[in-house]
């Protein structure tokens, strides 16, 4: 009886992960051809929509926070780097393709600082919604050792390095801190280093 009850409970619990049944087909998008010679009209139209009017935004969606926009999260591409830096006037953090170096780029898109990571590799970059802070999640090559670097983009400087017990499962920003959940525990990383001010 107990055995049957346990098995039933386990199967029900496991079955709770059932899908919603939506039969969407997995797409494959072809690589686009370079369109560097785009018509001037299209370029002009885009420039106008880069800073959409409040009317446009309110007509449907309130725009997601800056860090939640694709162009912000995809900021690792050099072209996007130029766009963001010009828009915000802040530095931005960029990872090299080999993930062994980080660069802080100025508003003019020129490198200001270079941060070699030694044996560490960049796993992920996270950006605060207000564009003032970036976090780099790092992992030591070949070992289960993790770290986090914080960057103050208004000062264009790295701020602190914190050892982590693992990669965060969840992260969010508050005004003056990043809250990470690592190995089931919440970790508060201060983002204002008062010793430098």
């Amino acid at each position: 009886m107990l055995k049957r009850w346990c098995l039933t409970g386990l199967l029900v619990a496991h079955g709770a992960g059932a899908d919603n049944g939506i039969p969407v087909q997995v797409p494959q998008l072809p690589q686009r051809q370079a369109t560097g010679a785009a018509a001037p009209v299209a370029q002009a139209a885009h420039t106008a929509t880069a800073a959409p009017s409040a009317t446009t935004q309110q007509a449907t969606y309130q725009p997601p926070p800056a860090a939640a926009r694709p162009d912000a999260a995809l900021a690792a591409t050099p072209a996007t780097t130029v766009q963001r830096s010009q828009a915000t006037g802040l530095c931005r953090l960029d990872a090299a393709p080999d993930r062994q170096n980080l660069s802080l780029l100025g508003a003019d898109a020129l490198p200001r600082k270079h941060v070699p990571l030694g044996e560490f590799r960049v796993q992920q970059l996270l950006h605060s919604p207000d564009g003032r802070w970036s976090l780099a999640l790092l992992k030591l090559r070949g070992r289960a050792q993790h770290a986090l670097m914080t960057f103050d983009l208004s000062r264009c400087e790295s701020q602190a390095t914190v050892e982590l017990e693992g990669l965060p499962e969840d992260a969010r920003f508050e005004v003056d801190a990043a809250l990470l959940r690592v190995a089931g525990r919440e970790l508060r990383i201060p983002l204002i280093d008062r010793s430098q001010r």
């Binding site: 919603n20 998008l29 885009h46 969606y61 725009p63 162009d71 992260a171």
Partner: protein
């Protein structure tokens, strides 16, 4: 009733452990408007009503992400609302010259759904996006999967769709 032997208890515990370890991670946050399965290794972030899932080890780092936008009240037919919201986001993000696949959509029980996949040009370079929505008649949910290359998109979109298929409104 037959008594349970110790060996049966051990077997049950082993079976439980095997089931538990094979179970995917689920978003159980009380703050989330959704319930969904987080792909292994992906990082979930919340900011306001927007949840962002980023895959691990994409090069360059952060070149793909999945956004779960805050649910909105349903307005009329889902397909129509979906097209309006998608069009507004495309404009807001400066996406132009779309090359879209055939739209998908339909009804599954009480759920309506619609999906749109396309590549675009943008000021930041090429973008590859999937817009995925579902509605239960009361609320409208929208997910956006974005990548900076076709390679990233095609490699990671199955996992993004896995999130979509596991999605439930709370």
């Amino acid at each position: 009733m037959k008594p349970i032997r110790p060996v049966q208890i051990v077997r049950l515990l082993l079976y439980s452990a095997a089931l538990w370890s094979s179970a995917p991670a689920w978003c159980q946050s009380a703050e989330s408007a959704y319930h969904y399965r987080v792909p292994q290794g992906w990082l979930a972030m919340r900011d306001g009503g927007v949840e962002t899932l980023t895959p691990p080890q994409t090069e360059p780092a952060g070149s793909a992400q999945l956004l779960l936008l805050a649910p909105k009240p349903a307005r009329g037919e889902l397909r129509q609302q979906f097209e309006q919201e998608r069009s507004a986001l495309e404009g807001h993000w400066g996406l132009r010259a779309p090359q879209a696949l055939q739209p998908q959509g339909g009804q599954v029980g009480a759920l309506s759904w619609a999906a749109h996949f396309a590549s675009y040009d943008s000021e930041g370079g090429q973008r590859y996006l999937g817009f995925l929505s579902l509605g239960d008649g009361q609320r409208f949910a929208l997910l956006v999967f974005a990548a900076s290359s076709a390679d990233h998109f095609n490699r990671l979109v199955p996992q993004a769709i896995d999130v979509y298929r596991s999605l439930a409104l709370r």
